[in-house]
């Protein structure tokens, strides 16, 4: 592992981009869905 860590290898790039891309894409998709839902019909109060 130490010898390989001198640089980010192609497979390392793949794992990095896919992992970070997946979680970023998922969170963006989720918040886009949540924030574009119709407004809630009733007022809430604590």
């Amino acid at each position: 592992m130490e010898n390989q860590a001198m640089t980010l290898q192609p497979l390392g790039w793949v794992f990095l981009i896919v992992s970070v891309g997946f979680v970023t894409g998922l969170v963006v998709w989720c918040y886009r869905r949540v924030l574009t839902l119709p407004p809630e019909t009733s007022e809430r109060a604590d």
Partner: protein, 540 residues
């Protein structure tokens, strides 16, 4: 029900609150070390498997169970598990869902106060690391400072003699938590999370940009570069996939990172209305946690450490979140241009991550006391605060070697979470019934749970969980059991005392649950899940 009027202020509020509960120190300190030690990029394979087959399914079940319990007028894990478990067995297993957040809070608030202490120190000039010293000398300074702050050198040091700064900062942190819990769900917990979560994201991105633009600060050390750091973190070592330890580490990381099986989501979701979506909300909260963990934690912590300290020093730190967060990173900031500023905002972010989590531990406890004993929020907050003060003080005093903290963290913060999560998923899929459970989850849902996940919830998640739990016990239990049973080694005394604390808390919670059950039965509530919900809580 005295807590019946409490609701979330908005749809995004409950999502940010659950996300806040999930996003904590582990996202930035535990995950990077875990991944680097267990295969780098290859670790993401078992990690995402655990996310899809454990974390998200159990999370959905917990959200649906919580909201269903709320419709019956219940907001605490014992009551809700009594409904899903159809009686007393479920109810008393559900006690674990209050035990976990309460006991974890005892030590979590202390760690949270360390973050606040470091933030304050960085605002006021740093922790004493001297420019120009070698890495080893700077790490020694950093460790010495951490020992002072945590009192890990000797029992009682933070509370004996002159007033110790750690005690003051712990008291401030504790008071802040109590204040926000006292303010209530919407004006307290939700308000904090609505501010803290975006702030954390902004700080995280600022630090990320800073780290990724560091390049190679010392041209004489080309191995200490951003690319080398990313390589150390992300280059895959596929040989690790053949080691059960890697799969165990990944499942454990997902599990504890998403805060499933903690009793928190059960409570938070119980304040939602019947037609409030739980599927998209649950997915969004989980996605938020994953973003902080993988996209921020996964790119910042280890990378920055390698840039300034090199791979060898970083490797020594990745096995321990405390070591990485409180010993190694301060040295990184000391060597970074503008390090005091970045150190300050980094520890502020960690503090915000911690307080959104610690509030989520106090809230279920307060809700439990409110509904079991019929108290209003003020007195319930006082009761919970006094109990947690005593517990936290115990951890603060018996600080030597952090043994007491570690014992509580293992048995309650790890072992019992497996038990609670297993109880939840089995109750949801098998006792309550998967069909009914999915139907309940789909009430008001803006997205539907894919059919394959129904199979996963019923069959895959329980088996996966049990396999991981058996592996976890096989690897860890013998050593921890030995520390409890060993009467001769004084170093184990604090572990034994910790178990006395755990036993005491269990006894109190079981007693309060019994009192609560009598109350709920007298009120005509359906505590054994015999009837369909009549939507007791107002606002429906």
């Amino acid at each position: 029900m005295s807590s019946g009027k409490e609701q979330w202020g908005s749809r995004i509020g409950v999502i940010l609150a659950v996300a806040g509960s999930a996003v904590g120190l582990g996202n930035f300190l535990r995950f990077p070390g875990n991944a680097a030690e267990n295969g780098g990029g290859a670790f993401m394979i078992p990690y995402f498997c655990a996310l899809l087959f454990l974390g998200i399914p159990i999370g959905w079940a917990e959200w649906a169970m919580g909201r269903y319990g709320g419709r019956k007028g219940f907001h605490s894990a014992p009551a809700i598990m009594g409904v899903f478990g159809k009686g007393a067995v479920g109810r008393y297993v559900g006690v674990i869902g209050v035990l976990i957040p309460v006991v974890v809070y005892f030590y979590y608030v202390i760690i949270e106060s360390w973050c606040l202490a470091y933030f304050w120190k960085y605002l006021t000039g740093g922790i004493g690391i001297v420019d120009g010293q070698s890495v080893a000398e700077q790490v020694a300074t950093s460790k010495s400072f951490f020992e002072q702050i945590s009192g890990s050198g000797i029992d009682g040091v933070t509370v004996g003699g002159d007033v110790h700064i750690s005690l003051v900062i712990w008291a401030i942190t504790f008071a802040l938590n109590v204040y926000f819990i006292w303010r209530g769900l919407s004006k307290g917990v939700e308000w904090v999370c609505k501010w803290a979560m975006p702030t954390m994201a902004i700080i995280g991105i600022i630090v990320l940009v800073r780290v990724l633009t560091l390049g190679t600060p010392d041209p004489a050390k080309p191995d200490q570069s951003v690319i080398a750091g990313l390589g150390f973190m992300w280059n895959p070592d596929f040989s690790k996939l053949g080691d059960f330890k890697t799969w165990l580490a990944a499942a454990g990381q997902i599990f504890f990172s998403l805060s499933v099986g903690f009793g928190v989501i059960l409570n938070y979701a119980s304040y939602m209305k019947r037609k409030d979506d739980v599927v998209l909300s649950g997915l969004t909260a989980s996605a938020t946690n994953e973003f902080f963990e993988v996209a921020l934690g996964g790119l910042i912590t280890v990378t920055a450490a390698v840039v300034f300290l090199g791979i060898a020093t970083t490797s020594m730190a990745t096995g321990s979140s405390f070591s990485l967060g409180f010993n190694t990173l301060p040295v990184v900031f000391a060597r970074m241009p503008g390090g005091d500023f970045f150190g300050a905002i980094w520890f502020l972010m960690l503090f915000l991550a911690a307080i959104t989590s610690s509030l989520s531990m106090l809230q279920p406890a307060a809700a439990f006391v409110m509904e079991a004993l019929g108290l209003k929020r003020g007195p319930a907050t006082a009761v919970v605060s006094i109990g947690c003060l005593a517990g936290s003080f115990f951890v603060l005093w018996f600080s030597k070697g952090l043994v007491a903290l570690d014992t509580l963290d293992f048995w309650v913060g790890s072992f019992m979470i497996f038990i609670m999560a297993a109880a939840q998923i089995i109750c949801f899929g098998w006792v309550f019934g998967l069909g009914r459970g999915i139907e309940e989850a789909h009430e008001g849902a803006h997205v539907h749970i894919p059919k394959v996940f129904q199979f996963i919830i019923k069959y895959v998640a329980p088996v996966y969980l049990i396999v991981i739990f058996v592996g976890f016990c096989t690897r860890n239990l013998p050593a921890y059991v030995e520390t409890i049973l060993d009467q001769e080694n004084p170093a184990h005394r604090n572990a034994q005392l910790a178990w006395i604390v755990i036993g005491t808390v269990i006894a109190i919670l079981v007693t309060v649950t019994a009192l609560g059950a009598r109350r709920w039965r007298a009120q005509g509530l359906d505590l054994d899940g015999d009837r369909e919900p009549d939507d007791v809580s107002p606002g429906r």
